[in-house]
Amino acid sequence: MATTTHASFVIERRYDASPHRVYAAWSDPAAKRQWFVEGEGWEIQSYELDFREGGAEKSRFRHLKGEETFGEKTIFGNETVFNEIAPSERIIFTYSMDRNGVRFSVSLASVEFKAAGAGTRMIFTEHAAFFEGGDGAQLREAGWRELLGKLDRYLKGAAS
């Protein structure tokens, strides 16, 4: 029996880099891989980014140490299609998450970049549909907060 729950959340962050630089961390495949994909304890099996409207981003990854939520044998799949790209201003994309080939969520997300002094105010909004065995809004929001923290560390590292 299919079960579907819906949720939305918003995360706002300030970065010390200009909108152009923050946007570049999303649009450049090598840059995005550093903060979005690479991470300690994760094995990246594949990653590709075709950053254009209608283009796709695909990754497959596995948690090496295992953790409380998902065992280490779980292979995650992430597929994204970019709906809108307005350079340095706005990105809108749809993405799905699979666990061992079974889809457990589909989301629509927007990222807005606004100049704030010498830096950037970035607003990430996600609308999600979670399916049977899905992670739910709390874990998803926590995951994105962690990723956007990694983006901050990437921007600080890339600036030096």
């Binding site: 579907t4 889809r103 909004t125 549909a129």
Partner: protein
């Protein structure tokens, strides 16, 4: 340059149909069935409807009042559970301007001999061209057309 604005809204429409879930699902899944009810008001000119109903498949249709703005619907299917659930994302353009991107979930639940149908739209409305109230009104009209088709 257009001033960019991004407005987020969610609405839910629930309908009880006399038809069984398999028949209601077919009205979305089968291109011949869907073409009979899915589109703008009757007086609109309508281009050919294309539907490739599978995960990763696409759907498109365009239409509008004669000589007026052409409305383009472009969707992609992200999840399909036969007779139970369909999840798609879709974009609306007015002529060449993208006015919204939405995530639409359709749930089909057995209710006696009929179906309780629940549509949830989580939408992003762009640059002030459209809003959730207008979209919900339009969607309710579409579901009226679906009901008329199902009752035939």
């Amino acid at each position: 340059m257009t001033k960019r604005s991004t407005t987020h809204a969610t609405f839910v429409i629930e309908r009880d149909f006399k038809a069984a879930p398999a028949k209601v699902f077919d009205a979305f899944a089968n291109p011949q069935s869907k073409a009979k009810w899915f589109g703008g008001p009757e007086e609109w000119e309508k281009s050919n409807h294309k539907l490739d109903f599978r995960v990763g498949g696409k759907e498109s249709v365009s239409g509008g009042p004669p000589g007026g703005t052409v409305h383009h619907y472009n969707a992609e299917y992200w999840d399909i559970v036969p007779n139970e659930r369909i999840v798609s994302s879709y974009e609306m353009h007015m002529d060449k301007t993208r006015i919204s991107v939405s995530l639409a979930s359709m749930e089909f639940k057995q209710n006696g001999a009929g179906t309780t149908f629940v549509l949830t739209e989580q939408g992003i409305f762009l640059d002030g061209y459209d809003d959730a109230g207008e979209r919900e009104r339009g969607t309710r009209e579409l579901l009226d057309q679906l009901e008329t088709y199902l009752n035939k």
